[in-house]
């Protein structure tokens, strides 16, 4: 409760003592938005931490070894994440539902365990030390980029691209009958998601002094998925709200502190059963029911 008291009574001091938290909320929100894009297009991709890692390591390594300006580092990290996103996204396009999820898990684990933990340049198991990290200064960049990202995504969802994504999410087959090149739009979503995750990774890597290779595995992807599901993936603001809520939760409920895991799990189950569309829903309280699943569904028998 003291958290809220300080927030409202002395915002300036609050801001100064919680800058890192705000930055982390911003990063998590960008990640959640990356999740939003793939979920909005009907793809259950869990690859975000992998692209984060690419963005993070590329930008830090460039900074430490080439001494390029930060903007260039970020751009390079993001771009590389996007390229890898295209390479990974292409073969997995025809995978549906849980198969895609598993394939992307395979990707991030292979990247984590096969590459990051094994290359001397990435510091192997010990990670990298980023002496140029700036825990406090980064907050404005993060918040501005978050606002820009959310705005751009919002506009996209309202346009032709967004309609195509929604159609694909609802019913790929019917979408094709309307002339929508499903493969192309899914790939676009996948790459955008990779770019966002790469950017978030790059930004995050400059908030902390140590780059920990264990940060980019399955637990991270579960966390990001939870942001999106909790907040609701039908609306561009949903995952952001989810990220905000879950990142601040442990700070607010310090008493819960130790039991945060148990409480989070319980909250997750409760939400998915009683309000599956998430906190924000679709802004219209409709439940989003994608037809991702590969197994033929039992539908109501034909009326006859």
């Amino acid at each position: 409760m003291d958290f809220f008291i300080q927030l409202f009574s002395d915002p300036v001091a609050f801001w100064q003592s919680h800058t890192l938290l705000v930055s982390q909320i911003g990063i998590n929100s960008i990640l959640a938005s990356s999740m939003f894009v793939v979920l909005y297009s009907g793809q259950l991709s869990l690859a975000a931490p992998g692209f984060m890692a690419i963005g993070a390591y590329t930008s830090v390594l460039m900074d430490l070894n080439l001494h390029t300006p930060l903007a260039v580092d970020f751009a390079a990290g993001t771009a590389l994440a996007g390229v890898v996103g295209a390479l990974v996204g292409l073969p997995v396009l025809r995978l549906r539902g849980v198969f895609l999820a598993i394939a992307t898990i395979g990707f991030i684990e292979a990247l984590s365990l096969g590459v990051i933990l094994n290359l001397p340049i990435t510091g192997e198991g010990l990670g990298l030390r980023n002496i140029d990290a700036d825990p406090v200064g980064g907050v404005y960049i993060v918040l501005i980029s978050l606002a820009v990202a959310v705005f751009l995504l919002w506009r996209l969802t309202k346009g032709r691209l967004g309609y195509a994504w929604t159609a694909i999410r609802q019913d790929e087959l019917a979408a094709r009958s309307q002339g929508i090149d499903v493969a192309r739009y899914k790939l676009i979503a996948f790459v955008i998601s990779a770019l966002l995750a790469g950017y978030a990774g790059a930004a995050e890597s400059h908030l902390y002094f140590i780059l920990d290779p264990n940060e980019y595995g399955v637990p991270r992807t579960v966390q990001v998925l939870t942001f999106a599901v909790l907040g609701g993936s039908g609306n561009v603001l949903g995952p952001v709200v989810g990220a905000l809520f879950l990142t601040t939760f442990p700070f607010v409920f310090k008493q819960a502190g130790d039991y945060i895991g148990v409480v989070s799990g319980a909250v997750l189950i409760a939400i998915i059963i009683f309000r599956p569309q998430g906190i924000v829903g679709r802004g219209g309280f409709a439940v989003v029911r994608p037809r991702w699943w590969p197994h033929p569904q039992l539908r109501a028998p034909s009326t006859g």
């Binding site: 094709r176 309307q178 439940v287 109501a300």
Partner: protein, 510 residues
Amino acid sequence: MHAVDGVTLEVEKGSIQGLIGPNGAGKTTLVNVITGYVPFQAGKAWLEDDQLTGLPAHRIAGLGVARTFQNIRLFKDLSAVENVIVGMHSRRRDDTLAQLGTLPFFRRDQRARFNEAHRLMETAGLDPGEVGKRAAGTLPYGDQRRLEIARALALQPRLLILDEPAAGMNPSEKQGIRELIERLNKDGLTILLIDHDMQLVMGVCDRVAVLNFGRKIADGTPEQVSTNAAVIKAYLGTGSERQASSAPGATGVEAVAAEEAQAKAGSKPAAEPANSILDVHELSVSYGSVNAVRAASLRVAAGEVVALIGANGAGKTTILSALSGLIRPASGTAVFDGLDLTTAKASAIVRHGLVHVPEGREILGRQTVLENLELATWARRDRAAAATQIAAVMRRFPILGERRRMRAGTLSGGEAQMLAIARGLLGKPRLLLLDEPSLGLAPQMVDEVFAAIKEIHDDGTTILLVEQNALRALAIADRAYVLETGRILLTGSGDDLLHNPAVRRAYLGG
């Protein structure tokens, strides 16, 4: 086995072409191949000068081939207007960059799109003001069908393929669809129409092609096709009596039945039995917004064979599913020998003695015939007797005995039906619900199936039979009910209904 075997079809520009055939004939498969959902294995297709062979579905749609789906595939959670706007996808400029920038420009564009969508909805007979903003999944059934057509029109197609657009509609709704089709055609749209309703197809099409078991067996004007002996045989099966084709333009049973009922005032209808083991009263069942069954009432007495006939989409299977516990009715009662079927669990209903052999047979293809039979005795307490019964069943249906170690999925249609019936029998039913047992079967298999049904009846099992093949069903039934768009319209003895001209015209005439 070929789903579609060497079919050649020419659709004249500006015409309405009908495509009919019994269930399983390959009509939808043919459409799926043309529209790019199923790959061509042999043969080609052109739309005017454009080759369609080998193109993916979205490219074919882009070339101007629009379709609706048998099972309605709307984007359920999108509003009606949004559904139509999605349909405009291939005609829209890619406005991604514009989106990211200037809002005012976008607004103007968006308004134009909404107006266009409204116009298309009106063309399809919908009121955009009333339904535009509602989620497509919440619309009434008829409106959903129309919306799917509106969405298809958004493609500005050269060819519109309608797959059973009037399924499940009552006569006045069907009339509306018919007028819509005629209007669209008059505006120059070429239409390929698949449907089971003969009156609709014969009344609206310029030409009709008939498929059966994947092959085209007839192609000509409606008059030619409806008097074609091969066509009549394919649809009606071999009954001892046959009726000539229906006159194009005949209306539904309702109007005629009223007339005939007055004319028949003298003859005695078969009375419903006083003590029945199955008592259904005012049963209503809906799927979402579709009222599949409306206040239906029927009774079945022990030892009877009762038939439930009616056109596709009339609600027959829905009633059976409600009785066996697969779906819950919205209202009404159904009691089977003291058990309330509307609340009991499906497994409890089976244990009580009501066994439902479903449409499409639903045998377990991955297990062997013997395993299917053994599993069928699950609900029984008397295991020892079950073993002897399995042997008995294999004697009655020798083909099952022969194939007992084979996977059920390898059985032919007729054999699978035998297995399904045998399975039903092994549950030791007191009331057996048979759903379309002759569906998709070749005529001589149909004979065998009906012979088996007769035997089962002679052994004392009560049967409630749902059949599209009205001739055969009425011939063996003690009593029958006629269902149309969810309502029970007529009831009488099998014989009476067999000779009822209204029934004959609507359901037996082709």
